[in-house]
């Protein structure tokens, strides 16, 4: 398991006003798998992802990423973990407007002060297909192009796992399909592990595995439509 959660609960507030976002979730994510997490609003799907990514802390339970227990790590260790082991794709792209597409892609390495693996970056750039737009700033790119940059950025440092939070939420149908295809390819061709939160069944259909959360508990854990088993 590259990422696993054991008996994770998350409670916001206390007493009468307490909100139980997660009520004991245990789940593991094997390497090289594309998992979609679905659920209605307030089901706890985003909270689960935030906790898996070290952005939020569970009230109880344990989370390991690539063999490291992350619950109880301090801010600087968590920062380093996110920098070295995790990749993120956000709904609203979240590129730095002052940097070019290329610079945005290389951002994780720049933050770490590491030299990028040139061959890998070339492969990535070819994959996301930005071609001659690499020197453009985000404002000069379409939404789909921006999200492709974001995908390349998430993959650039070869993270143990990429978390995608509604990556197609701001894209139209055609662009969405392209982007999902890109994510799918990164799993199939590079063996990338991806955990994607979405409320869009169409997006979820591309995953190997589908988790459904309801009221803070895991309601369903099934093979996704893209998994070989269900292909039969």
């Amino acid at each position: 398991m590259i990422v696993s959660a054991t008996d994770v609960t998350r409670q916001y507030g206390a007493g009468e006003a307490a909100v139980h976002a997660l009520r004991g979730v245990s789940v593991g994510f094997p390497a090289g798998q594309f998992t979609a997490i679905m659920g209605p609003s307030g089901s706890g799907k985003s909270t689960l992802m935030h906790i898996l990514a070290g952005l939020d802390r569970p009230t109880h339970g344990s989370v390991t990423v690539d063999g490291t227990e992350i619950v109880g790590l301090d801010d600087s260790d968590l920062t380093q973990l996110r920098r070295d082991k995790l990749g993120f794709i956000f709904q609203s792209f979240n590129l730095l407007p002052v940097l070019t597409a290329q610079e945005n892609i290389l951002l994780p390495m720049s933050i770490a002060g590491r030299d990028p693996d040139a061959a890998w970056i070339d492969t990535l750039v070819a994959k996301v297909g930005l071609g001659d737009r690499l020197d453009h700033r985000p404002a000069e790119l379409s939404g789909g192009q921006q999200q492709r940059v974001a995908v390349a950025r998430a993959l650039a440092s070869r993270p143990a796992v990429v978390f995608a939070d509604e990556p197609t939420g701001n894209l139209d149908t055609k662009t969405s399909a392209d982007l999902l295809g890109l994510l799918r390819q990164s799993v199939d061709e590079f063996g990338q592990t991806i955990v994607m939160v979405t409320h869009d069944p169409e997006s979820a259909s591309i995953a190997d595995r589908l988790l459904v959360l309801r009221d803070g508990v895991l309601a369903e854990d099934s093979a996704g439509l893209a998994a070989p088993v269900t292909a039969e």
Partner: protein, 850 residues
Amino acid sequence: MRRVALRGLLARKTRLALTAMAVALGVMLIAGTYVFTDTINSSFDRIFSVSLAKVDVVITPDDALSGDDGSSTVPLPASLLAKIRQVAGVQTAAGSIADMNGTILGKDGEAVSQGAPMFIASQDIQTFASTQVAEGRFPRTAGEVTLDKGTADREGFALGDRVSVQGVAPRERYRLVGTTTIAGVSSLGGAAFATLTLPEAQRVTGKEGEFDAINVAVASSTSPQQVVAAIRRVSGRGTIVRTGSQQAQSQSDDIRGGLSFLSTALLAFGGIALFVGAFIIFNTFSITVAQRAREFALLRTLGASRRQVLGTVLGEGLTLGVLGSAVGLGLGILVASALRALFKSFGIDLPSSGTVILTRTVVVALVVGTLVTVVSSLAPALRATRVPPVAALREGVAMPETRSSRFAFPLALLLATAGIALMLVGLFVASGSTGALSFTGGGAAVTFVGVALLSPRLVSPIASVVGAPLQRMFGLTGRLARENAVRQPGRTATTAAALMVGVALVCFAAIFAAGANKTIADAVDNGLRGQVILQNQAGFGAFTSRAGEAVKTVDGVQTVSALRGARTRVRGISGKQGVTGVDPATLERVYALEIKQGDRDALRGLGPGEILVSDTYLTDHGLKVGGTLVLATPRSGPLRARIAGTFKDKSQLLGSLVVANTVLKARFGAQQDQLTFVGLRGGREDAGVKRSIDALLKRDYPQAQALTASEFKQDQRDQINQLLGLIYALLALTVIVALFGIVNTLVLSITERTRELGMLRAIGISRRQVKRMIRLEAVITALIGGVLGLVLGVALSVLVTRALDDFSLAFPVGTLIAVLIASGLAGVLAAILPARRAARLDVLEALAYE
């Protein structure tokens, strides 16, 4: 709608506080100055009216030509007292001495005051009793003295101690028999009073048979006014006769006049701070209006009129202005006490009987502060009204491109040019110092605004230059800092421009001071032929001419030549001005004065009816060599003098008008030396002779000090640098205001970039890196201000010094570099709070931030 404005303010407390400070600091200095000077004035009013309460009529020499040090006043003759005693209605009349040209020495042998005047006074007769004995008694014999209690306490004198006093006569030791207070106050603004018996006071001050004032008590059958009229008929030319209360008023006015320079200067610095504050208010409102465009659009959609939107923003400005001004007023009252403490530490103990807060102070502080705020928020408010209602429905609204921004560049150029033109008018055309100053100052302000408007175009190139090394040093954070700084060039430009003003003025002052130092040094190097200079130990003011006469007897001294000074009015030319006395026979031996026009021997042969004028004075006033100048004198009627020639004097030591010392003594009563050049035998510096001179002065004339040429230059430099320090301290306020501006802009920008910061944190940037990024952005912004200020300061000083004759320009490169480094450090300081805020952002909340 009013509620919207208030809510808008309250929702952003940090911004509110920071912006209010931008107004408050300027208002603080203005209010503080008023409270400070009003308090002093009212204290002096009381002191003078109480001390003159028993005096009905006062006769004093005419001081219409007088300088601050009492020069150009001729004492009253004793014969006048006899005449006054004969006047009907005069019951008692007595003459007195109050002489400011003496020096009182403390136990350490140093003068008891370096700034406030030292008086040698005569003891009043019982009838007038303006001073009271605090301890002991008044002097009864020539060997006894009393000191004002303030001085005695400060110097640690006890009754029975020996106190040295030096007037015109050599230093004399007196036994301290008492201490005195005036109107119950132990110190009159730190001025020192040594009271002697009348004959001794007359002897020491060289006023045997003369008085500085005659006080009169009138018979109960008549009124002071009637007696004033009667005395005027006998007192003659060159005297002033006033009632006691008029005299008190006149003395108060003198103090007011003396303080008015100080208060004008302080008010000017307050004005500069407010001017800088205006930049910050404008910037803050511009940013918040842009950030709230959606909100205004929504209001418009809900049916709010443009006027109402305008009212909302202006209402915020008004509230902020009133609030900031009120805070400034409160701080000002505190600052007044701080100013008093500051002056006391310089030895000027200004009296203060209860803080005086006039209605005028409150009104001016509130009105000026509020007005500046509202006016500065006007342009952003107008922009807010141009947000179309439909913007409420659109994603990511940008402010509409305004019509004005298309004209911004030409307008900025126009303003900068107009500002420089105004300055040129002030410097080269305008006559009268007030006009010239207003033109120059106003021109400088307009230039600042013009350059500030131009600066958005300069931000990017300057940021590239100063940002490049930062990027090389700090990598990604440096890169992002630079990019963020130039993201909104207008915003960065205005923020930097606020700092630019302070930096420009600091550079200007530094360059000006360096130039003044160089000018003096050059003049001394080129002009001085003597080896020693005598001057008052305080560095300015006159000293007894007997010091020079005594030095002449020292073995090894060959020539002693004194410069003296008086004040006069030249017929046909407005204003009072100085006239310098020289010794024509000896001056050339110790000082090189270049005669430009007229006879070569014009100086050596300068006769009693002749005058030399400076070259520039001749041209400025359209005079001709051989023509006649008519000079007003204190008592002996106009002096007609033929212009015998012109001179060029780079040092400005001689001023514009030069006559012989004999003329100055006979017609202006000037007997004291201002500066005395001493030439040694062999024309070379001689440490032994210098030591003998020092010893002599220390023993008999401690009022004077002897300096070698290099010591004299150093002394002048020290004085200039002291003034420079004071100017820096006052400009620091302006810089602090600008720092608040940087803090404010950073806080607002960080708010805008919350999501970005969240993303950076999510993908692994550390808190340290966030802090560094913000810090570097502040440094870049501050350095843009520093670079612009430096360039502008250099340009201003070059321009201004062109207007001065014979002013050597010098660039204190070290200081200028230090200023630049300091502005960068100021950026670091300004970034502390915003950086901490940015680093503390919760990643999840930041990512969800709209």
